[in-house]
Symmetry: D2
């Protein structure tokens, strides 16, 4: 927690329970000067560009540290990075009184359902091929969950919206087919916020799906520093985000290999790892 | 429901249950051309500029008519004009993850509490001198209700927000003192959305309360035509706005004098008047 | 100029010089109700979905008609549809104090250069393979014009912006390569407003060019009805848009075949056709 | 130029010509975390809360320092603080294709005229009682300058805008009467951006001038850190802001008393003070 040599840290002290933004920005590039630190040209990500927080100690700039408010359960502290992704995506445009489609119900997709409902989305649709995750999506509050491997998701969603399509697409899968279907299910004038990471180029029908639709497409990266954190923590402190179903699994830290295998197998939720043994 | 001589109305037919925007705009002034029909320079308000809807028949342009969706309870059809005021005010800026202060808990203030919570406000404060209305504000979901006649509301709210003040002021009273207190309780950079109608000039400390604060102050009038209606109806259809406590009183139409007297006495809610007898 | 049977038109009278929005919206779909008439679900375009204005008489709803202000030269009345495209695109986001790249210098691209400069863009780059159009782009005020067939346009623009890229991409070509290059030259956090119409699917590197960049991509269609018209006419009345170089060619109407051939050959500008002979 | 003990400054070096934001923010309050550093709760202003820059040396955090680009004339470096106020005010909302009214033509008012025109304002009106400043306002590009002591400014401006009023009010005087007139001249739905500092409470007719008008009122303070700087410097580097008429007077530093007396006498512009003698 030392920003620069010689600087004294006063906001937190040894023993405080803290959370951290892991994007470390440079502070002087064009984007940093514009208040867009999350897309800093010289960003270093702790855990990607350098060793991360699976360690006893980690060095993080004081600016990136926030004390965890005691009214927020400790376990939530373990998922604030992906929850911040979800909050950033959902709140990147209007959501109150809007219909939304979440494509992909991995952990961030599932969180997005909860955030969207808490922020006034009228109807949240979700698509997901994994059965367990579809069940979890229902549990998290999705109004309708569709299996795109079994039925025509676009037709279904257009039918449910009177042929208009959804106001907001929250793309959480990175899957090219899901992205294309998401655009087809988006209404003219709608917003598509893309967080999922495709592993290849995605051929888009820009004319029909973006241009003639007058759509707005947003790339979403990280969390706004620190507007997303402020809003996320306010929602959590107010008890507005019930994420309990995501915390189904708890393991001692030494069983981490087992835990990662479960996640890669499509587990619908998160696994809490405890360094000092799982609390009863 | 005839717009202009000779025009055929196709969107609704005799017998349909409908709701109506009572601001009739001209369609060709600067504001109408800009999509700001609610502040049309030549607006005529049915019920103010001409006879209103306390009548067996009323003539309204087809454009101003919307069919009431069958999933929305009929009684809600009686309060959509003021509910639209509340939705317009709350959604005139960001509300998700924001603290809000509602000054004045008449019917629109009470509705604003519900709308703000449904759209993700983290904490809603309310001020009101009438005891019954304070009780109703709690019932509608306000997190803290303050009687400004009995305690220092500004000090209280600043204390609850760590000295920062609220993100959003929803001014529903029109009372000069409440307006001034609202501005004092607003954080620097906050939004003040003013719907209440003061009956006299209000001396504002523009320097401390607006300029140095970098505050944004919005005059709110009517409902956006028809963006507010679209969002309000989406929220109602999705069951996101529970306004049941407001419907405590029901009377036959012929007892209207009695009903209006109750309202003027500060009744916390609405009175439903039934032309054909109160349903059991 | 008759909207509906039986309705009287009062805003214009026979003999008035008028201009017209050729998108005729339905007035009752989701988008029309939201004030997004330009992307009406039931839009009919005069000149595409039905016979257009190459005729002695054409029937247009009164709402779509605007009187041409006498301070605006008549010839400008002939190009307001494409100029509206340019104004809509440039003003779809911030432009003052922003660097911009116009990809494609057909008539609308050329107009966009003028609009962007008039609205405070600090530096306008343009790319175009046609030599005459590049010369015209310079004449219209572009600060730097690049021939992407002869040099590496992306490298050039990144170099000129200190490696950051441009704040705003105004895509006017519909050419897949130009679109891809435009995204590469866009800064992280930038805005890409797409008006050009590709004739095939465009493979986009969504990860690098949109998602990690936190970019905003906007589909632009038609003109906002009628916000774009109001702003465009205000700029024209104030003499802020000098489009004179575009009016290089004038022909009598009967030589229309010749005129269209010139346009298809890449003429950098517009050709005015006069039904009653070219004025001296 | 030392931020904190022990930190090394790398962005600038001894001998560089630099400019500085004089608001020093805390970095950890609610507003700083939200990217609103210009309204930091713990702001210290160099020159107000502590000794300022009328000195041979001044200590300023490295973050607040920007190198003056060599393409910008040195004399502009002396006026970037007030120019930033003007840029912040003008760009606090849409200005392209908008009519604007500048109330008060002191230096910042005069700069606002230039900025508004450069950013696409269609027509700029200005009010000012001082004759010299009115003449300067014309020179800076105002389309119409009114003396409110001699004629009815509100009536005049409403007349010039077809009875509608201006789209944007840029309040630069702090004079209660000018503020009230500005609101009367503002169109329904317009924006009022207030920078001038009244010395007393201003009684506002909130009903007619804000609420029924659906107006947006913005308090403007300082400069956005550092978005305003980025845009201002981009405009200056591009040569888009001609402020030469403001630089009419030059004096050696030792004649500062004389210079301040001239400014207090209503001099229309700035006086450049030179510590080493006025350059020829």
């Amino acid at each position: 927690m030392v920003e620069r040599a010689g600087e004294e840290v006063t906001a937190v002290k040894a023993g405080d329970l803290v959370i951290a933004e892991m994007h470390v920005n440079c502070g002087h590039c064009h984007q940093c000067r514009l208040g867009e630190a999350h897309i800093c040209q010289n960003v270093r990500i702790i855990g990607i560009d350098q060793d991360g927080a699976f360690a006893e100690f980690v060095k993080i700039p004081a600016t990136n540290i926030i004390k965890l408010d005691p009214t927020i359960p400790e376990r939530y502290g373990a998922i604030l990075d992906p929850l911040g992704n979800a909050v950033h995506t959902v709140l990147a445009g209007p959501i109150a009184g809007q219909t939304a489609l979440v494509t992909g119900c991995g952990p961030i997709g599932l969180m997005s359902i909860v955030v969207a409902k808490a922020c006034g989305s009228s109807t949240v649709f979700a698509t997901e091929t994994n059965e367990q995750r579809r069940a979890m999506a229902k549990k998290m509050g999705a109004d309708m969950v569709v299996n795109p491997a079994a039925e025509d998701a676009v037709k279904k969603i257009l039918g449910e919206t009177g042929g208009t399509g959804v106001d907001v697409l929250l793309e959480m899968s990175g899957n090219p087919t899901a992205i294309q279907q998401g655009f087809k299910a988006l209404r003219a004038g709608g917003r598509a916020s893309l967080l999922g990471i495709p592993t290849e180029n995605v051929p888009l029908n820009l004319v029909d799906d973006v241009i003639f639709k007058g759509a707005t497409v947003q790339g979403i990266y990280g969390r706004r520093m620190y507007e997303t954190w402020v809003k996320m923590l306010a929602l959590l402190k107010a008890g507005r985000l019930n994420l309990e179903p995501l915390f189904g699994e708890r393991e001692p830290l030494e069983k981490f290999e087992n835990a990662f295998a479960k996640l890669q197998g499509g587990l619908p939720g998160k696994i809490l790892l405890y360094p000092d043994g799982v609390p009863r």
